[in-house]
Each structure stands twice: as C-alpha cells, then as structure tokens.
C-alpha cells in the first residue's frame, strides 16, 4: 500500500445521522425527503444548517441532486458537491469521496444523503422507469431479463450449483435479519418469521422467493462527514472513517467466475488502509438487496472460506449473539431500502452504543458495504471505528 494513504486513516469522522420515517408512500417529493434527512443529520450533530459547505448523493435519475437541495435549504455557495450516478454499488463511494474532500480541506462539513421514493414513484427495474441506459442491456432485455431480482437470482443459482448453497441458507439469513428488525422501531417489517414462512413465500424468479428480496421503500437517510478533530467537539461521540475503498466488479457479459464479486479485490485494500483484518470487525452491515448478496460478501470479505457463506449463516454466526452480527437493523430485507446509506447510519449507531435492544455489546469496529459489484462493475466499502 502506498505510504501516503496512511494520512487518510481516521482523519475524518461521521458526526451525525438523520432519517425520515420509512414507508410505502411518503406522499412527498424526493427533494422534500432529502431536505428532511439532511436537516435531521445536521441537528443530530449539533450543527446549524448554515455550517454545511458540502452535499453529496448517488442516484439513478430518481432523486434530488445537490444542485436542488442546496438552494432549497438556503445553503448558498457550497464549496464541494457530488452527484454520483449509480446504484447501490457506489453508495459507500459517496461517503468515501466526501471524506477525501474533507481530508483535503475542500470542505469542512459534508452531508451525504440518499432520498428515494422506491415504492410510490420509481420502482427499481419495475414500473415507473424504462430499461436502464447501459448499452449492454440490449443483450438481455429482449429475453425479459431486466430486473435486479432476476439478475441476482441468476448469480445465486450459479453459487448454488457450484458450492451446494441451498434455499435453507437464504432462508436462515432472512429469518435472522427479521429478528433484528423486530428490535428496531424504524423497521418497516417487524413481525418475526420462520424458515417455513420463508419457504412458503411466493416465487419471484427461481431460486428467489419474495422473502429473498429487499423491500421497496420511500424514505431518506443522511450522514454528516467532518474532520475528526471537529467531530470531537460536537454533540455526539465521533465515529472515525478508518478506511474507504473502491473496487471493480464483473460485467454481466464477461466474467470468469460469477460466484466471486468485486468485493474480493477490494477487501485487501480496505483492510490494509485500516490496518485491520476480518477478525477485527465487531459488526457488519452488508449490502442486502437480496439474501444471496450477503452470503457472497461474507466469503469475499474473508469471514468464511469461499463457498461456505450459506452454512456460515445457517450456523447462527451472523445473528445478534453470533460471532459476527450482520445487518443489525434488519437491512434492506426488513428495515427498509435506502440504497446503502441506512447501512452506514446503522454502523454509526452501533459504534456510538445507541442501538438500543439490538446493540452489539462493546462494538468498536464496523464494516459497511455497498452492492458487491454485480451487474455494474463497481463496488465500495467503509471501515468505521469508535473514536
């Protein structure tokens, strides 16, 4: 690793988090949702909105960019902003880039947000939007192969065929995350489920059932990134950005092994930046657009050997009382789908010790990850640490 990267570790911090309620119909615009989440995060940090000098978001043409949110909140002359095109694979890149901007002195207080009406307005890969714009879509769309649950189901079956991963493994993950959501007042789905409930849920695209798929959610979530030094003087316990990494992934048209994701290439860089390894992670929020994406990340981030993600989950290792609690908020499957930012916010809550009934005792280091690099060849992740 280049020595100069060491200057990045722990230089910046997340000083505040903010949410709107999650629902199936927010009744308001994504601009309104974004403004509410940004103000909530600023309030949580104990700052005034006038102190915000940077805004950043990611979106796929379905939300309000910083050039709308800034003027709407009277923020005037922003010294840094980012409107990152992209889906869940760039969710953590946005916070990583905000941390770089703050570390470089381009801005001092950046709010990263994601606002989404993913149920009532712009459903991913479903009604309310056309086919994605990538030219590669022309080689799949004519076959009725267009939506994320289809694509991840395709990769999930490849993993099942290669490693013997089974429906019961996916089901165990859904059951565990619902149990976590039952302890999360913000979560949309809080009624516990059993493995039988999972197996009885209706087919979407075999091998995926309804309970393999994330919720479609209206809502917004935001985090405040500032310097570590400044965060120490603010209202909340600072959570340091120990590492932020970007990675590639697999084009869906060319890839030697679809059971390995871009996370496998990113993970060594991420851990090296933080000076840590998988064994140092106390709690992990892993991008769970579908059950399978968690299982493959457990392997590619080094928590279990390749191919053993399914049995690892079924052993209870990722439950709240397991060796690596995962998606303690319930994740996209049960809390709500805010395209990655709610995973970062939950990691912050855990490291502050403010996660209530779902608190992992003594959590000091958290991993939070983006979509691991399927479909769009990109991924990103953060390691966060209690100061």
């Amino acid at each position: 690793m280049p020595k100069r990267l060491l200057e990045f570790r722990d230089r910046t911090a997340i000083a505040g988090v903010g949410y709107t309620p999650f629902s199936k119909d927010s009744g308001v615009s994504t601009l309104t949702l974004a403004c509410r989440a940004v103000l909530a995060a600023v309030e949580d940090a104990g700052l005034s909105p006038g102190e915000v000098d940077g805004l950043a978001t990611h979106r796929v043409g379905d939300s309000a960019p910083p050039t709308l949110v800034g003027p709407a909140l009277g923020l005037g002359d922003l010294s840094w902003h980012l409107d990152q095109f992209g889906g869940g694979s760039v969710s953590h890149a946005v916070v990583g880039q905000a941390a770089l901007a703050v570390a470089a002195g381009l801005a001092e207080t950046v709010v990263c947000y994601r606002a989404i009406n993913a149920r009532s307005e712009f459903r991913m890969g479903g009604t309310g939007r056309g086919v994605p714009v990538s030219p590669e879509v022309q080689y799949q769309a004519p076959y009725g192969y267009v939506a994320p649950p289809q694509q991840f189901a395709m990769y999930a079956r490849a993993h099942m065929l290669r490693y013997g991963t089974r429906a019961e493994h996916f089901g165990a993950l859904a059951v565990i995350q619902r149990a976590n959501a039952a302890k999360n007042p913000r979560a949309l789905m809080r009624t516990p489920i059993t493995l039988d409930d999972y197996l009885a849920s209706r087919w979407i695209a075999e091998p995926f059932r309804l309970l393999d798929c994330c919720l479609e959610t209206d809502g917004a979530c935001a985090v405040v990134v500032t310097t570590a030094e400044r965060a120490r003087s603010l209202r909340r316990p600072p959570v340091l950005v120990s590492a932020a990494a970007w990675g590639g992934g697999t084009s869906h048209l060319s890839c030697d092994d679809p059971t390995v994701t871009g996370a496998a290439g990113l993970a060594p860089r991420l851990y090296a930046q933080a000076g840590l390894g998988p064994g140092d992670i106390d709690v992990a929020q892993l991008y769970d657009c579908f059950t399978y994406s968690v299982i493959v990340q457990l392997e590619d981030y080094g928590f279990c050997p390749k191919g053993e993600g399914g049995p690892y989950v079924a052993s209870g290792a990722t439950a709240l009382d397991g060796e690596l609690p995962v998606n303690t908020h319930g994740g996209f499957l049960s809390e709500g789908y805010v395209h990655g930012v709610n995973h970062i916010a939950e990691a912050v809550s855990q490291l502050r010790g403010e996660a209530g009934d779902r608190q992992v005792p003594g959590a000091e280091v958290a991993l939070s990850t983006a979509q691991p690099g399927y479909v769009l060849p990109a991924t990103s992740a953060l390691i966060l640490r209690r100061a």
């Binding site: 479903g126 030219p135 267009v146 079956r157 087919w203 869906h252 048209l253 679809p258």
Partner: protein, 144 residues
C-alpha cells in the same frame, strides 16, 4: 413478446444485422486475433481498433438459469426461463437467452444457439440443448 426491443447502437448494429440473417459472428481483433463480445471498437487485450467479423459456432455451456414466476416484462408468458450461457468460442464471455426446450436445463449442459424470429423486424438468439434434433429442418423446440 418481447416487451423490450433491443436498440442497436453504433457499436452493435452490425451484430444485430447478422443475427437477423441468422449468422452468429463476433469481432476478431486485427492486431492480436482475440475474439470479443459484445461488439465495441477497442480490443481489451491490445487496445487497438482494427477488427473483422468472424463467424463462430454458437456453442456454450449452461452456467446458471432462472425461472421467472412473475411477468417482469409485459407480454411474456408466466413462467419463462432465462439461461446464462458460457460461450465456448470466446473465453470469459457470458450470453443470455430464453430456453428452448420442454425440460429445464442441467448444470454445465452443452447448448447450441438457435435463432428465434420474434416478428418481421426482430430476430434474437436463444439456446437449446445440444442434443436436440429437430423433426424438420430449422424447427425450434418450444420455449421453456
């Protein structure tokens, strides 16, 4: 069917024109000979632009498949099966298509491309078992 029609671009137009003529061709780099798909100007191996179309056998192996149990696209039957095929002539290349057989695929099964004429303007490439022998020339098996 289908709800979504391909929109050929300046890179892919020649490929779709060949599919319409029931030809299966990929690009062959003029400098290093590497075969590539999907169509694009640059060879990723040697980063040069010159290339020719090269007809290859539409053969591959089943890497995965899904059975769609809801209509993701208007007009498609329910359920319908999409297969992911590892193309034999182009290393690393994956292609998709509807499955043209009355039974599900088998893991690693050898398959052959088959052209399906959707309507007057559109022909697409689907996949069927290598072992399928049509009763009449050019007859396709039923869609899975």
């Amino acid at each position: 069917m289908p709800g979504y029609r391909p929109q050929p671009d300046r890179d892919s137009l020649g490929w779709w024109e060949r599919v319409a003529r029931r030809q299966f061709a990929v690009q062959e780099c003029g400098a290093c000979g590497t075969l590539r798909f999907p169509p694009r100007a640059f060879c990723a191996a040697c980063r040069t632009e010159g290339w020719n179309w090269r007809e290859v056998a539409p053969e591959g192996k089943v890497e995965s498949w899904i059975v769609n149990r809801r209509p993701f696209v208007p007009g498609l039957g329910d359920p319908y099966l999409v297969v992911m095929v590892r193309l034999t002539p182009v290393p690393g290349c994956l292609m998709y298509g509807n499955w043209r057989a009355e039974r599900p695929p088998e893991p690693g099964e050898r398959v052959r491309g088959v052209f399906t004429q959707v309507d007057e303007a559109l022909t697409v490439l689907d996949w069927m078992p290598e072992s399928f022998i049509p009763a009449r020339p050019a007859e396709n098996p039923a869609a899975g």
